[in-house]
Amino acid sequence: MSNGNVKEKVKKVISEVLKVNSEEISDEANFIFDLGADSAQSLELIAGFEEEFDIEMDEDKALEIQSVSDAVTFISTYL
């Protein structure tokens, strides 16, 4: 899967979980600081990524993901 595809899917998950338009999500947007994710939503995002990409991520490391680009880089290691 290309990086571009991964990014698109990541934004789709973020958009669904945080209920924001995917166009408003920049690559460097921080889930908490820019998009307003709370702690429960941070967990929902991890679950969303796992489901979307059919992978199982290390939860502690996954919780350190703070932005779209972080997520793309991290998820790519599982693909």
Partner: protein
């Protein structure tokens, strides 16, 4: 730590902001960001509130901004409630916005260790970059009850009443408990500050701020760790001396697992709590054991005039409680005032014949408000009385609320402290409420009332002196002491036994007896003869600390033969008990005449630095633990205090026909030892045990000593 050049201005804006931004606000009830914004709005804050939230458009009717930099108006105070993972980003934006005063509520920093330490370092760097100062992180927030501000920038459940007590706490959770306790007793606060990890603004900065805060009359502190002990002491002394504001503190962690099972007696007797205790006392800070004791004492000093003397009047409607109060008062060092003739005449005229018109005044069980009023007014009018305690027990005819109201009225007319104890619970509750609402200190137990009065009296009358540096000796040879210690450290030495410790002590002119080290029985006899009998022989070995326990010391040697035998005997005993010990030799020492055996010690505390110990000496020192501590250096007054603080001091003063000891020499030795402790950081611990104090005019001598490097 960020620079503190503009700290005062920045702190002013923390307590008196015109505009506040809550960075990371949300509208999820039950969350910290939600509750903080609602607390600010609920408290009638006198400035403008700007919620900053990436997602919300409005919170509690106020327009939200996505970023703090989007706010056009200047912001005086930003309260960061974002999680620690993005607190740095929020702080960076505050810097860009030009906000200088910050409260970081978020947890997840130094207190969690690991990456949290890095996060705390990062926010400090950002604060430094933008010349910002912040309270927190990991705190409950700040409350200012001043009507000019009315700021509840915290997630406490309630805004306290306005009052004159400033409260500082390292623990946020304790703050909420204190607020709840205080509310029930109508205790008001001027400023209420939870400072959490104190990464930037710490308790010393806050103390200095409260020093100049006209709304604060009494300062209370809850501390979990003290990092800059000496500065804390200096600041406290400055506040007390310059403003007369009392400072009361609870320092948790009294049990001391860290009290080392060290080689020295001082090491094992001086846990950090004992040192903290001594240091706080030296600084004039009133240390309390718990919240109740702290508030019992604080309300006395915050609500009522300070006592001018310890002469009190007790007015009671019950004999038993009157006697109990009298006992407690005497126990606390108070005195029952002797009433003037005029007072006695008024009591005779207005009180029933069965009443006791002497102090404690018993107005009798059927007393109603009029009788209390007469007794109390006249007692406070009496020039021999400088304070009054009112005791009430609820009889069927006792008009409790009216009596409470009369007490309030009378208290307003006199500039003398008046405390009350309405004994009981249910029936007296409404009366107590009247007293508490009107700032009459109320105590369930007369004992607490007497303790509170005694604390206020002692605070008012105890002069807090700086150390008199002119009493320090200039005939000490710092260089010589340093040379011995440095050489020992260079050679990898950890302990200096008596013969070497004595050399260090001699450089500070601490008196040691004439002595010489020998390595044979023949030399022992020769040296003993030269020094003059009687002598003492002691084994010298870095591997043996408690020489007596293995019969490595023999005393009262009176002939050359005895000296030879003693040498052989010591070598035999020591080789048997400690076969692997490296023996440097045997010290032949002039035997000091019989005197009082005391112990002197030195140790270093991580917060307060070098301190000295004094106490009853000898082999039972760790059993009796009759010791006192002071942060070094000490002067003559402090040395005298140290001695008098121990129970055994009475013996030195000459109790029961004992010849008084040379206290002058002992005090001088304590002063010199304090100087040595300050001048020679190489000394980790030092024991002089015993120091023999001879009778007045004959001095004192070190009988044994060792130094841990």
């Amino acid at each position: 730590m960020s620079p503190k050049i503009h700290l005062r201005d920045h702190m002013d804006k923390i307590f008196y902001p015109q505009s506040v931004a809550i960075v990371g606000a949300n509208k999820v009830p039950g969350t910290v960001p939600h509750d903080i914004i609602h607390n600010i709005l609920k408290a009638d804050f006198q400035g403008i509130v700007y919620p900053v939230s990436p997602r919300e458009k409005f919170i509690a009717g106020a327009k939200c901004y996505k970023y703090i930099v989007d706010i056009e108006d200047p912001i005086d105070l930003a309260i960061i409630v974002f999680p620690s993972s993005v607190a740095d980003m929020a702080l960076e934006q505050c810097g860009k916005k030009g906000v200088k005063s910050i409260i970081i509520i978020s947890a997840g920093f130094r207190e969690v260790g690991g990456k949290g330490i890095e996060k705390e370092k990062k926010i400090l760097e950002i604060a430094e970059k933008y010349d910002m100062n912040f309270i927190g992180p990991n705190c409950l927030g700040v409350i200012n009850t001043d009507p000019k501000s009315l700021l509840n920038a915290s997630f406490a459940r309630k805004m306290p009443e306005e009052g004159s007590i400033g409260f500082l706490s390292q623990s946020g959770a304790l703050c909420t408990a204190v607020l709840d306790y205080a509310q029930a007793k109508h205790i008001g606060f001027s400023k209420f500050i939870s400072f959490g990890n104190k990464a930037d603004i710490n308790e010393i900065d806050l103390l200095r701020y409260l020093k100049d805060d006209p709304k604060t009359k009494v300062i209370l502190m809850y501390l979990e760790e003290i990092s800059q002990g000496r500065e804390l002491m200096d600041t406290a002394r400055e506040i007390i001396n310059d403003t007369g504001k009392p400072i009361l503190a609870i320092k948790s962690g009294r049990t001391d697992e860290g009290a080392s099972a060290a080689a020295s007696h001082t090491g094992s007797l001086a846990g950090s709590d004992q040192v903290t205790d001594a240091a706080l006392k030296q600084a004039g800070i009133i240390r309390c054991q718990n919240i109740e004791e702290m508030f019992n004492k604080a309300i006395a000093m915050a609500y009522q005039p300070m006592p001018k003397s310890n002469n009190i009047a007790i007015i009671t409607n019950a004999g038993g409680p009157g006697v109990l109060t009298t006992d407690a008062a005497i126990h606390e060092g108070l005195e029952l005032a002797k009433f003037s003739d005029q007072t006695t005449a008024v009591f005779k005229k207005h009180l029933p014949k069965t009443a006791n018109i002497k102090n404690p005044v018993d107005v009798i069980g059927d007393a109603r408000a009029d009788r209390y009023k007469v007794a109390l007014s006249q007692a406070l009018k009496d020039v021999n009385v400088d304070g009054a305690f009112v005791i009430l027990t609820p009889q069927s005819m006792t008009d409790i609320d009216t009596i409470a109201t009369e007490i309030v009225n009378v208290a307003e007319q006199y500039d003398k402290p008046l405390y009350a104890s309405f004994m009981g619970a249910a029936d007296v509750a409404s009366g107590i409420d009247i007293l508490q609402k009107n700032k009459i200190p109320h105590y369930t137990l007369p004992e607490s009332m007497c303790k509170a009065f005694a604390t206020a009296y002692n605070f008012e009358t105890h002069k807090l002196n700086e150390i008199d540096r002119s009493e320090l000796y200039d005939d000490v040879d710092i260089e010589a002491a340093q040379k011995i210690l440095d050489k020992a450290i260079k050679n990898g030495r950890k302990i200096l036994p008596e013969n070497e410790a004595d050399k260090v002590l001699e450089t500070y002119r601490i008196p040691v007896p004439e002595r010489k080290m020998v390595n044979s029985a023949e030399d022992a006899a020769k040296v003993a003869l030269k020094i003059g009998f009687p002598v003492v022989l002691k084994v010298m070995s870095e591997d043996i600390t408690h020489k007596f326990d293995i019969k490595g010391v023999l005393i009262d040697i009176r002939t050359e033969k005895e000296a030879k035998d003693a040498y052989e005997s010591i070598m035999h005993n020591v080789t048997k008990a400690k076969p692997k010990a490296k023996i440097d030799g045997v010290l032949v020492e002039k035997m000091i005449p019989k005197g009082h055996e005391v112990i002197l010690g030195v140790k270093r505390d991580p917060a307060f630095g070098p301190f000295i110990m004094y106490g009853m000496g000898g082999i039972f020192v760790e059993i009796f633990k009759d010791v006192s501590f002071r942060v070094a250096p000490v002067d003559k007054n402090v040395a005298a205090e140290m001695i008098d603080e121990t129970k055994s001091s009475k013996m030195l003063h000459g109790a029961r026909g004992i010849v008084p000891a040379d206290l002058d020499a002992l005090q001088n030795t304590l002063i010199r030892l304090g100087q040595l402790a300050i001048d020679c950081p190489q000394i980790k611990e030092l024991d002089i045990n015993p120091l023999i104090v001879l009778e007045k005019g004959k001095g004192c001598f070190v009988a044994d000593a060792n130094i841990m490097l």
